[in-house]
Assembly symmetry: C2
Homo-oligomer: 329 residues x 2
């Protein structure tokens, strides 16, 4: 099943079911008006949404309309939790190596995660608004899941069935704010502006065999200003599965329905597959040439993030954002 949230002037938008080919949509208001409502009582609402999805795919839905991803908000325009992992540990190791720091061996067994802001999540076509180009504006292409309720202390093997939906993510980072912020000791804050999400969220079964071991075994395609810069496989080199990441969050607290848990920047050790964030490219340049050569994003720069099936059809629709200055009010 594929779900989206369309803008309707409200903070939470309007839940719609989207056809598998992303061509058509149908209001889900007769079932649940908002995605969070469906997540709050998933076992009750999801079968009804699945029925509508089937009807829509079969061309029998009577009030179907063209799905326009430009009208899509984030599937959850605001969420009660956004926690992002760094599950591609080779990426973490590379970035640290570039700045001459060694990565602790424990990073291979103990997930690195940060708590992000979730009150203002962006739709796939929203501008990346940034007060200064000097902040070092970077994209980070990722995969994320939306969870059901996960009680404190849950083990990974029981968590798989609590994963409700999958999305693509652009976890925008302001790289030049990060060193000073991390030096303060409390983690990212101003260096993590609003995060953007794919037009649709999908249930794991949509991926077929490509969803296994709590990982998405498909390539994530990233274009920057029209040039393909990355196409790593999100299932390769992912040290921690989504179930393991969620178990990390649930170690000392309950995780409630509608929590979004991210994979961290997708990265493969096979460097021919390119990069999902500029910081990775710059790290490779630092190691090879002693200095970074690729600049960060400028106002007007565009990034496009998507994932395709074997037949080349877009699974989630595309995140397609442009960097823009903050308009003083």
């Amino acid at each position: 099943m594929k779900l989206a949230t369309l803008t309707n002037g409200s903070r939470d938008g309007q839940l719609v079911v989207v056809s598998r080919d992303l061509a058509l949509a149908h209001h889900a208001a007769g079932i649940a008006a908002r995605l969070q409502t469906a997540l709050d009582d998933w076992n009750f609402f999801s079968p009804q949404l699945e029925d509508l999805y089937q009807t829509l795919n079969e061309g029998r839905a009577r009030h179907a309309f063209t799905f326009d991803p430009k009208r899509a908000m984030a599937p959850l325009p605001r969420a009660y939790q956004w926690a992002d992992g760094s599950a591609y540990v080779n990426h973490v190791e590379l970035v640290r190596k570039a700045r001459g720091a060694e990565m602790p061996e424990s990073f291979w067994t103990d997930p690195l995660m940060y708590q992000g802001g979730s009150d203002d999540l962006l739709g796939p076509h929203a501008d990346i608004v940034c007060p200064s180009e000097e902040h070092g504006i970077d994209f980070e292409a990722e995969v994320a899941v939306i969870t059901g309720d996960v009680p404190m202390g849950s083990k990974p093997k029981t968590i798989g069935q609590r994963i409700r939906l999958l999305m693509l993510v652009n976890d925008v980072s302001l790289r030049n704010l990060i060193p000073a912020e991390l030096a303060k000791g409390f983690g990212f804050f101003q260096s993590k502006p609003a995060t953007a999400f794919s037009p649709v969220a999908i249930t794991p079964d949509e991926l077929g065999d490509a969803w296994r071991d709590g990982k998405v075994h498909r390539r994530l395609t990233v274009h920057w200003n029209g040039n393909k810069v990355g196409e790593p496989n999100a299932g390769d080199d992912m040290t921690f599965s989504f179930a393991q990441l969620i178990a990390h969050v649930a170690k000392t607290r309950n995780v409630r329905a509608g929590s979004i848990i991210g994979s961290g920047t997708v990265s493969n050790t096979d460097r021919s597959r390119g990069y999902c964030c500029i910081a990775e490219k710059r790290s490779l340049e630092m190691i090879e040439h002693g200095a970074a050569r690729t600049p960060f994003m400028k106002y007007g720069d565009q990034v496009r993030i998507e994932m395709f099936d074997d037949a080349g059809r877009s699974i989630f629709g595309a995140i397609e954002q442009t960097v823009a200055p903050l308009q003083e009010t």
Copy 2:
């Protein structure tokens, strides 16, 4: 105006207006069923809630009932943002001094904040459930505000009017998990379990002159197992006002209605006023005796956090929590 959320079996509970003396409550369902709904359109809903509040205080509300803080959930049982500052910089300096670390001078001008989990916020009487006593269970008594919408780049002087409500907070910390977690570089995560809030949230006008310069100029009273351990004035030694803390959050992103922003552990340089977290007491002991003497909380330990007006009446009601083990399911 004083507002509370009563448990009714739903995730978001039932919004009620509470009388100034905390004796009576009245359902606000005819106005707004949930606090977040009121915050989403505050200028529309708050005058109606104020009218009901006045009627209730005058003893003219026809369906008033006894307010039982044991039935109170957190005013926002789940929120789209919980960001906590460390506005009492002398506390930060003390804790660092105790572990032999120097505090950067910039901490006096650049607020230290962390992003907390907000999907599972606890009511004032909820147990502090912790999987192990060895985690170093500590309370942190704080003040917090709930904001309206604050656009990116807003300056402190325009932010004061965006502060909708005030609450007391117990920002529970697992001290023994913090060093390893901060060493990883991404900030707190497992070391910050669910946060608890006072029975009622109040509008700033309830404080009269005690609300000025974006600070709460009243003493915060903390009892641990029945012994008063702290009574610092939350208005003294607060280096950053709430408006300054919110401006810090809004530097690179929009802050949306219903965001909760905390002060950090209240702490006065006058040590005779005691402590609002055990870590502060232990830091003083380390500096004086070379080792901490006061242990952290054990299962069964109780903490009580409240604030009184000049006549000794409780303003927010009390946070009153007991530490309990995690029941394996």
